[in-house]
Every structure is written in C-alpha cells, then in structure tokens.
C-alpha cells in the first residue's frame, strides 16, 4: 500500500478486516487435496538460465512425491516428503539420502527455494498471528496487506508480509523476513487461473534476497485436482523405481 493510501485509510477510519479471518479464508482456498502437478522451474542464475521440469504427486498437506523430468542430468532424481521428513534419490549414485539438518536450508536444484520452503505444509493460521495493515493493488487486483508474526518457534521465517487478493483469497505477493527483520525471500505472482472452482497462482517468481541472480520462475504446466494416487507412491521403495 502506498503512503497516501495508508493516510487516507487512517483518516477515514476505514474498517480493516480481522487478520485471522483473512488468513482463514486463504488457508481454506489453498487447502490441499490430492493433486498431480506438472511444473517447470526456470532458474535465472548469475551466469545462465536453466529450466527444470518436474511432476509431483501430492496427497493432503504432508505427503508428496516429485520426479524431475528434465534436463537429462536431473532426470530421474526423485524426492519424497512424508510429514517432516524428506528423502531424495539420485540415479547416478543409486542412493536414497535423507535430507536433514542444515541441508534443509540448501537450495533445491540451485533455485531460490530451499528444502525448508518445500517442506512447509502447515496452514499459515496455525503458525502465524496475522494483522491487516492496509490495502494495496497487485496484478490490478485489490489486496489486503497482512503482517504475519510467528506464534510458534519452529518456523523458517519469523515474519511475513503478504498481499492477499480480497475476493479470490490467494497470495499475490509476499516478503519473508528473519527474526532480525532482514528480508530473506520475496515472491511475486505473475499469473493466476481459475481451475476446478478455485483460484490458483500458475506462474510466480521467487527470489532469495541473499542470492545474486534474477530469481526462479515457477510455472504450473498442468494440474489435476482430486486425482487418484496409489499409496505406494509415498514410500521409499517408489524412489528407486
């Protein structure tokens, strides 16, 4: 929200909605069902850009299985997330490796996203206190600007500033901060689509503020909601198949 807008809002005494209510709507809209997503991630590095293709099978909030499809060097690499545990399989070593500890803070495939970001599955309302601080416009859509402050200790980002579409209930822009107030990551949605009765961000740019480069563009090529996913997919045995 720009400064003038904020002052006008303050002078008019306009009512801002309750932060928890906005967050509840957001969580309800983004609540996961079973879905199969084919996506592309273009990493704009300091030297060159690379595009990595992947297919993900997602069940509920805590189980997902991802297979990287391209480029050839990454093809066949798989990742399995079960609750708060993450395993990866690399065909070149034929090893299943558990990603834990400080490795979770490492970048996924050189992108601006970390494994911690990938592991995030809790609803925002469960781990943050929200306060609506104003209004703004993103992608020509009216948004509530919310400041989220962690209500639990084990979160990757102590506070966040999110721009939530007032009627579509999706996040269109986000800044993530550390406990010191340092900006760590930004996200900006470039495109949204209405799919299977809900609004989905289909193209977004993530940027690690501590990293050089022009960020990572994530786009959804196809998404299938309420898909039938066999249980064996979410097992370590599936990693080697």
């Amino acid at each position: 929200m720009n400064a003038i807008g904020g002052i006008v809002l303050l002078l008019l005494g306009a009512d801002l909605p309750d932060g928890s209510a906005v967050l509840a709507n957001l969580d309800a809209n983004s609540g996961s069902t079973n879905k199969i997503v084919v996506s592309e991630m273009t990493i704009h590095g300091r030297r060159e850009s690379r595009t990595i293709g992947a297919k993900s099978w997602i069940q509920g909030e805590s189980q997902s299985f991802t297979e990287y499809l391209s480029p050839p060097r990454e093809a066949g690499t798989k990742m399995l997330k079960l609750g708060d545990e993450l395993w990866t399989y690399s065909p070149s070593s034929d090893r299943i490796i558990k990603i834990s500890g400080h490795m979770l803070r490492q970048s996924v495939m050189g992108s601006d996203l970390s494994y911690d970001d990938m592991m995030e599955d809790r609803k925002l309302g469960d781990v943050y206190d929200a306060e609506v601080t104003g209004e703004d416009s993103v992608l020509e859509r009216p948004c509530w600007v919310l400041t989220l402050t962690a209500s639990v200790p084990d979160v990757a980002y102590y506070s966040r500033e999110i721009w939530v579409d007032q009627t579509r209930h999706i996040v269109l822009k986000e800044n993530r901060y550390g406990k010191s107030g340092k900006l760590l990551k930004t996200a900006e949605v470039l495109e949204t689509k209405h799919l299977s009765g809900r609004w989905v961000a289909t193209r977004a740019v993530f940027k690690d503020a501590l990293k050089s480069g022009d960020g990572t563009e994530f786009s959804i090529e196809s998404i299938e909601f309420d898909a039938e996913i066999p249980d064996y997919i979410f097992s370590k045995a599936a990693l080697k198949e």
Binding site: I43, G45, R46, R47, E48, R50, I52, R73, E74, T77, T88, S90, S92, S93, D94, R95, I96, I97, K98, S100, G101, H102, M103, Q106, S107, V108, M109, G110, S111
Partner: protein, 422 residues
C-alpha cells in the same frame, strides 16, 4: 704499517683473539637470526600458499570479489585454455587448478540407507602421477592409512574425519554437494586412504578428490574454481608476484565479471596486513638484536683499548705521537672488525645455508600440532644477509675503539712518569 699491525695482532693473542671471537660470534648470530626469521616467516606463509591460495591465484573477478563466500557458480570456464595460456606466458611458475566445494559425506549401511552423515570441506586437485600437487600438499608424507587415489572414483579423507565416520580404506562413501549450477550432486566414491595434514581446519573434515572426479560430480567440465601458481624456489616473494599479476591483468583487460583475474598471495589470502606486521616484527626483532650485538662489540672495543692503557702510556712516554697511536688503535680495530665480521658472516651464512637446504626436523617436538606449521625449521638466505652482520660488526668494533682511544689524546706526557711510578 698494516703488515706491522697484523703481525702485532697475530703475535699478541690477547689483543686479537678475544675481540675477534666476540665479533665473529656476534656477527654470525646476527646473520643466522636474520635468515632464520626470514625462513620462519616463509614457512608460515608457505603453508597458507600450499593449502589455501598459492603464490598467485587466477579466478574469475566475481569469484575473487566474493572472497570466502565464493561458490563454484563463479568458477573459471575454459580451464584448459586458461591454464595453457598461463603455462605459456609464465613458464617458470607451476600452475595447478583446484576446486573447493562443501557438502556432506554420507556413509551407507548394509541396506544402502544413511548410517552416518557429516559436513565436509572438499578440495579437488590433480592427483595424477607426476602432479605437482603431490609435493605441494605433501600427500605421501601425510598419508595415515591406505594409499593415494590411483583410479577414478577414489578419494582421501582426513584421518580424524574418517575415524569419526567409522570408515577406512576400501569403504564406500557418498558425497552430497551442489553442482556449479546449484543442483544437488550425489556421487559415490571409494575411500583409498586417509591423510593427516597437521592443519586443524583440514583434519577436522576434509575430502580430497581428483579434479577430474570433482568436475564430473559437480558438473564442472573444463572448469575450476581457481588456478594456483607457485613461484620457483621455496618462499613467497611479493615483488615478482606483484609484477606477474600486473602483467597478466594488463594482458586481460575488459571482459565481464567472469573474466580471469590474477591476484598475489598477499591480496588473495587476505593476509596483507599480516605480511606487513610480520615484516615489521622481524625488522624490530632484528634491530634490537643488532643493537644489542653492536653494544657488546663496542664494549669489546672499549675493553681492548682500556686494557692497553699501560702499553699506550709507555708508547707515548718514549715519544710516539698521540695521533700515530690513535691511528694505529683504529687500524687494529678495523682489522679485527674486518676479520671477525668476515668469519662471522661466513659461519652465519654456512649454518643458514644448511638450514635452508636441509633444515632441522622438529617433528618429534610437535607430535600433536594442530596449527599450520612446517615441522622442519628452515632459514632463507637473502642478498642482504651478507651485510646485515658484517657492517654492524665492523662499525661497532671501530667506533668502540675510536671512542675509547680518545683517552689517548687527553693524556698528558708530563704526568706519564708519575702514573708509572705509582
């Protein structure tokens, strides 16, 4: 006259031997101290050169700017061409590429699942037969168990690290790291042996791989983080290094942040102020030592003249001119100083040469050293070593005799008879 004085000095040992020995010992100690301090400083910086940055380092500009945060995303591409150019333009310098990388070492159990995992600091160098790295990193000497890698896919781990992981030669370990593009790199290796560098930072968790294996694992074909250059001879010399770096950088102007850039050890290591401090400290230690030795030699000159108080009195009493006596004292002091300084310089240089070429092995005194230190004490002779002891030795003896001899001019011939009668 000179012949007469030399004869006098040779025949009267008390006039020559003690002052000569004093001057020779003092001068030899000054020469030895100068060369030893230079050698010790060299040894300290050489360990940094060998393990960290070489005497010269060629990287991309971005890699150099990033300093300790440099990643292989900023590596030098076209490595073969860069290295060939360096070897052609600077044939006296030994050039060798290296890749540094971080990651995890994962040790599988019998089912192939993670048994233990620990962070590792990776260093990839040319481990092929005849590679200069074998000598630079003293690998054969550092080997604690097993053997050096001789086939692709073999690596070394630091001995402490291997013990902590519970692995030994022949075991399989998996490196989890990042490619130069940032993707996850997972590669299996066979542990061929373990090494003990005597450098705590490396002994804590180092993995040493052949550069070819690292290039393959980290997707760095024809790329390396850095190319290190080692000047001929043992020590680092900032002047030629600065000249070569300036020459290289002048020949590679323009370009983007990924263009190659050469830096000297002084700038690449971030030890510039340490270099200055060590230089100043060495100069201060040497100055104090030279001054102390000067005072001793001066005192020896004074003692020599005072001891001959009676002899000088008789010479004056029988009619020898005061000026002639004074001049003969100075000439004798000059001869003693000249001979003593020459002998002292030769002895000091001789011992220094032995320490420079052979060294003194003190490994038995530092069995558990955990700092970057060479276990062979060495000295380094520099052109200035010839004068550092010689001039103070000659001057101090001469000045000592000149001041004490002033008494000759003050003595009254008329009271000499009274002095002797007493």
């Amino acid at each position: 006259m000179i012949r007469f004085l030399v004869k006098g000095l040779l025949r009267d040992r008390s006039r020559s031997l003690f002052p000569l020995l004093t001057v020779a010992i003092g001068v030899s100690l000054v020469v030895l101290m100068d060369n030893y301090l230079r050698g010790a400083t060299d040894a300290m910086f050489q360990a940094t050169a060998n393990f960290v940055c070489g005497h010269l380092r060629v990287t991309t500009r971005a890699y150099a700017r990033a300093g300790a945060d440099a990643t292989n995303e900023l590596a030098l591409l076209g490595l073969d061409e860069v290295t060939a150019g360096l070897r052609r333009d600077f044939p006296d310098v030994t050039w060798t590429p290296r890749i540094r990388f971080g990651g995890l070492i994962d040790v599988p159990d019998s089912a192939g699942m993670t048994r233990v995992q620990s962070p590792a600091a990776g260093l990839a160098v040319d481990l092929s037969e005849g590679s200069p790295e074998l000598k630079i990193l003293r690998l054969a000497k550092s080997l604690a168990a097993g053997r050096l890698p001789s086939a692709p896919g073999e690596v070394l781990l630091s001995d402490d690290f291997a013990r902590r992981l519970g692995v030994g030669p022949g075991d399989k370990v998996t490196l989890i790291s990042s490619t130069m593009n940032g993707s996850m790199a997972v590669q299996n290796f066979i542990l061929s042996g373990t090494v003990r560098f005597g450098v705590s930072a490396m002994d804590r968790g180092a993995l040493l791989a052949d550069i070819g294996d690292a290039q393959q694992a980290l997707d760095m074909g024809d790329a390396a983080g850095e190319v290190l250059g080692f000047l001929p001879g043992e020590g680092y010399d900032d002047r030629p290094a600065t000249r070569l770096a300036a020459q290289y950088n002048a020949a590679h102007p323009g370009g983007d942040e990924f263009a190659p850039e050469m830096a000297t050890m002084r700038t690449a290591s971030g030890l510039g102020s340490m270099f200055d401090l060590m230089g100043a400290a060495s100069a201060l230690i040497l100055a104090v030592f030279v001054t102390a030795m000067g005072i001793v030699l001066w005192n020896a000159g004074l003692m020599g003249s005072l001891r001959r108080y009676g002899e000088i009195g008789i010479r004056l009493a029988i009619g020898e001119d005061k000026g002639a006596v004074y001049r003969s004292l100075l000439a004798e002091a000059f001869l003693v100083g000249l001979a003593g300084s020459a002998i002292g310089t030769v002895i000091g240089l001789g011992i220094s040469y032995y320490l420079q070429e052979v060294g003194l092995n003190i490994s038995g005194m530092i069995p558990n050293a955990t700092v970057v230190i060479d276990d062979v004490l060495r000295a380094r002779i520099a052109p200035g070593s010839i004068f550092i002891g010689f001039l103070p030795g000659l001057l101090a003896t001469f000045v000592g005799a000149a001041i004490s001899g002033l008494g000759v001019l003050k003595r009254q011939t008329a009271v000499l008879a009274k002095e002797f009668s007493g």
